[in-house]
C-alpha cells in the first residue's frame, strides 16, 4: 500500500523508520493547502491510496477551519483516505498563565475531532500522546536542517502511523488468550495469597485487568488458558479485587493440558484462524512452546520487569488491537460467538469422528526396534493416566524384552497435521503357546481421544491372528479412564479385571 506524505514541515525522515509501507514523496512541504485544493496538483494525481497529512501546530499559519475545508474538497474530488494528527504545541511558547495557546489548541482539536467523526475518509491519531515521551524534539537539527523530531520521535510517529495503517488494511486481532498466575495477578492461586489490590505490587495487576476489561468493551474476546485446577482459577476471578469476572471470558481452558492443544481447541471452537489470536503468558517456556507448535499465533514477549507491564500492554494493544472504527457487530461479537459455539457443540457430539478425519492422523508401528529402548523405558516410568498395568521398567529390562523371542515390544509413532509427536504409545506382549498376554499398554496424554487405541487393537489382532489375546487392568489412583478399555474393544471379562478376545 502506497502512502503520500504531505506536511507543513519536513517530515521526510519518516521514510527511514516506516517499515512495510512505501512512502511516496512527490509533494514539497509547505504547499499543502494548494496541493489539497488544486485538482491539477501532484497530490491529486498521486497513485497513493492514503494521504498522511501531518500538521505541525507551531508552524501552522492557516486557521484550522480553512485546512479542514481544503481536506473536505480533496476527499470529495478524489475519494481518498486522509490520515491526520491532533495538534499539539511542541516547542516553547510564551504564554505565562493566560493559557492563550492552550485554548487555541483545545479549540483546534475540537474542530478536528468533530470533522473526523463526520467524515469516514478521515482517520485521526492522537499526536499529543506521543509528544509526552521524552527527547521527542531535537532543537539542533530543527534549526540546522528544519527537521523537527529526534530519532525516537520519528520512530514513535512511524509506529503509530503503521499501527493505524495496519488497522485500516487488516483490522484488529479478535481474541486475547490470557494466562492467569503471574499474568492476571501476582503469585500462584491455590498456593499463596495472590497479589491483586489497590496498593503495592497488586496495583500493577489491578491496572492491567482494567485495561483488559476496556479492550473487551471494544469487542475483543477474552479467553483464559491457564495451568491450574479449574476451581483454583475460578477462585482467582472471584477474588474480591478482581476486575475481570468469570463471565468476561468466552472460553476458559483452565486445566493441565499443554497450552498449544488448548489453543487449538479455542481456535476450533471460535472458528477463527490462529492469526486472529494473541497469546499472553509470563512464562518464556509456554510462549516458545506455543509459538513453536502454532507459528501463526501472535505471542508478544512479556516484560521481565513487572513494573512495566502496563506500558508494555499499551504497546501490544497498539500493535495488534488498533481499530479505526467500532461497529455494532464488534459490540455484539461475544453473543454471536456464544451462539455459534452452542451450535458447534451440538454438531460435535455427532461427528467427533469427522473431526478426527480432518487431523490427517498417521500412525506407524515398530516392533522390537532397539533404537528407542531408552524412550520405551522412560514411558513406562512416566505414564500414569493411560496405563493399564502401570508396570515400571528400566532400560536393561526393556532391552531384554526387545531381544527376547518370548516378548514383542510394539511402539506407536503418532503424527497429525499439526505435529509429529514421535513415540507416544507402547504395548508389551508376552507370547505364550496358546495365547498372548498384554503385559503393558500405555499411551501418552498428548494423543488421547484420537482413536489411537483402536488402531493398536486392530494391529494386535492382525499380528496374533491365530491366538487369543488376554489383557489386564490394574487399578491405580490415576488410570481409571482406562478401566473400560478392553470391554469397549470387544474383550470379555473372564475374571475380575482380566479380559479375553478369543480367536473365534
Amino acid at each position: 500500500m502506497k502512502i503520500e506524505l504531505v506536511s507543513n514541515i519536513n517530515m521526510d525522515s519518516i521514510k527511514f523508520y516506516l517499515k512495510d509501507y512505501q512512502l511516496l514523496g512527490s509533494c514539497d512541504f509547505g504547499n499543502y493547502m494548494i496541493d489539497l485544493i488544486d485538482n491539477n496538483s501532484q497530490l491529486h494525481k498521486s497513485e497513493a491510496e492514503i494521504i498522511f497529512l501531518f500538521l505541525d501546530f507551531d508552524e501552522l499559519n492557516e486557521d484550522i477551519k480553512d485546512v479542514l475545508s481544503a481536506v473536505d474538497i480533496f476527499i470529495e474530488n478524489t475519494g481518498k483516505t486522509v490520515i491526520m494528527n491532533t495538534l499539539a504545541s511542541s516547542s516553547n511558547y510564551i504564554d505565562t498563565f493566560l493559557n492563550i495557546r492552550l485554548k487555541q489548541e483545545l479549540n483546534a482539536n475540537l474542530n478536528l475531532v468533530n470533522f473526523a467523526d463526520k467524515n469516514q475518509n478521515v482517520l485521526l491519531f492522537d499526536f499529543s500522546k506521543l509528544l509526552r515521551k521524552s527527547n521527542f524534539i531535537d532543537e539542533k537539527y530543527w534549526y540546522m536542517a528544519r527537521i523537527k523530531f529526534s530519532k525516537s520521535g520519528f520512530e514513535s510517529i512511524s509506529r503509530e502511523l503503521s499501527n493505524l495503517l495496519n488497522a485500516y488494511k487488516y483490522g484488529s486481532k479478535k481474541v486475547l488468550v490470557l494466562d492467569m498466575d503471574n499474568t492476571l495477578w501476582g503469585g500462584v492461586i491455590g498456593e499463596e495469597e495472590i497479589k491483586l489490590s489497590n496498593d503495592g505490587v497488586g496495583k500493577i495487576y489491578l491496572d492491567f485487568q482494567k485495561k483488559i476489561k476496556q479492550l473487551k468493551g471494544l469487542g475483543v474476546l477474552l479467553v483464559a488458558c491457564s495451568k491450574n485446577n479449574y476451581n483454583d482459577g475460578i477462585k482467582g476471578l472471584e477474588h474480591i479485587n478482581s476486575i475481570l469476572t468469570e463471565d468476561d471470558f468466552i472460553i476458559k481452558k483452565i486445566n493441565w493440558n499443554n497450552k498449544a492443544s488448548n489453543i487449538e481447541e479455542i481456535a476450533k471452537e471460535l472458528n477463527l484462524g490462529y492469526e486472529s489470536l494473541v497469546f499472553i503468558d509470563d512464562s518464556p517456556m509456554e510462549r516458545s512452546h506455543v509459538k513453536e507448535v502454532i507459528p501463526n499465533i501472535i505471542v508478544p514477549e512479556f516484560p521481565k520487569d513487572i513494573y512495566s507491564i502496563n506500558s508494555w500492554f499499551l504497546g501490544v494493544v497498539g500493535d495488534f488491537f488498533s481499530k479505526i472504527s467500532l461497529t455494532t457487530e464488534d459490540l455484539n461479537k461475544e453473543e454471536q460467538y456464544l451462539a455459534k459455539r452452542q451450535r458447534d457443540f451440538a454438531i460435535k457430539k455427532t461427528s467427533y469422528e469427522d473431526f478426527l478425519k480432518t487431523l490427517n492422523i498417521e500412525i506407524e508401528f515398530q516392533i522390537n526396534n532397539n533404537e528407542h529402548i531408552e524412550r520405551y523405558a522412560q514411558m513406562t516410568q512416566k505414564t500414569n493416566q493411560f496405563n493399564l498395568t502401570t508396570k515400571r521398567y528400566n532400560i536393561a529390562e526393556m532391552r531384554s524384552f526387545v531381544e527376547s523371542s518370548f516378548y514383542d515390544v510394539i511402539s506407536v509413532n503418532y503424527k497429525d497435521k499439526y505435529a509429529n509427536e514421535g513415540v507416544t504409545g507402547l504395548v508389551i506382549v508376552n507370547i505364550l503357546d496358546k495365547y498372548v498376554e498384554i503385559d503393558s499398554f500405555l499411551l501418552s496424554c498428548r494423543i488421547l481421544k484420537r482413536g489411537v487405541e483402536s488402531s493398536i487393537f486392530s494391529k494386535l489382532s492382525k499380528l496374533y491372528f491365530d491366538k487369543d489375546i488376554v489383557g489386564f487392568y490394574v487399578e491405580t489412583e490415576k488410570n481409571r479412564q482406562t478401566k473400560k478399555l478392553y470391554e469397549t474393544h470387544g474383550f470379555k471379562e473372564i475374571d475380575k479385571n482380566k479380559f479375553i478376545m478369543s480367536v473365534k
Binding site: 525522515s13 521514510k15 527511514f16 537539527y141 536542517a145 529526534s150 530519532k151 525516537s152
Partner: protein
C-alpha cells in the same frame, strides 16, 4: 568495536549493507537528508553530540569513524 557500531547504525538506517568504504551518494537513501538522519541516529545511539560542521563534512563512514575516535581521546 566502535567502527562496527557505526556500520550497524548506518546499515539499519539505510536498510542496505554499509562498509568502511561507503560514502554519501553511494547508496540510495544516503543523500543530504540521509546524512542528517545518520547523525541524528549516531547521536542518539552512541550518546554523543556533534558540531554543525562535522554533521555537514563527515560524509563517509571513514570520516565518521575517525571523528568518533578523535572524540573519544
Amino acid at each position: 568495536m566502535m567502527k562496527k557500531k557505526v556500520l550497524n547504525i548506518a546499515s539499519e538506517l539505510f536498510g542496505e549493507e554499509v562498509t568502511m568504504d561507503t560514502k554519501i551518494g553511494d547508496i540510495k537513501k544516503w543523500d543530504s537528508l540521509g546524512q542528517i538522519n545518520l547523525f541524528m541516529a549516531l547521536e542518539s545511539e552512541l550518546n554523543l553530540s556533534f558540531g554543525h560542521e562535522d554533521v555537514i563534512e563527515c560524509n563517509s563512514i571513514e570520516k565518521i569513524a575517525s571523528l568518533i575516535e578523535k572524540n573519544e581521546n
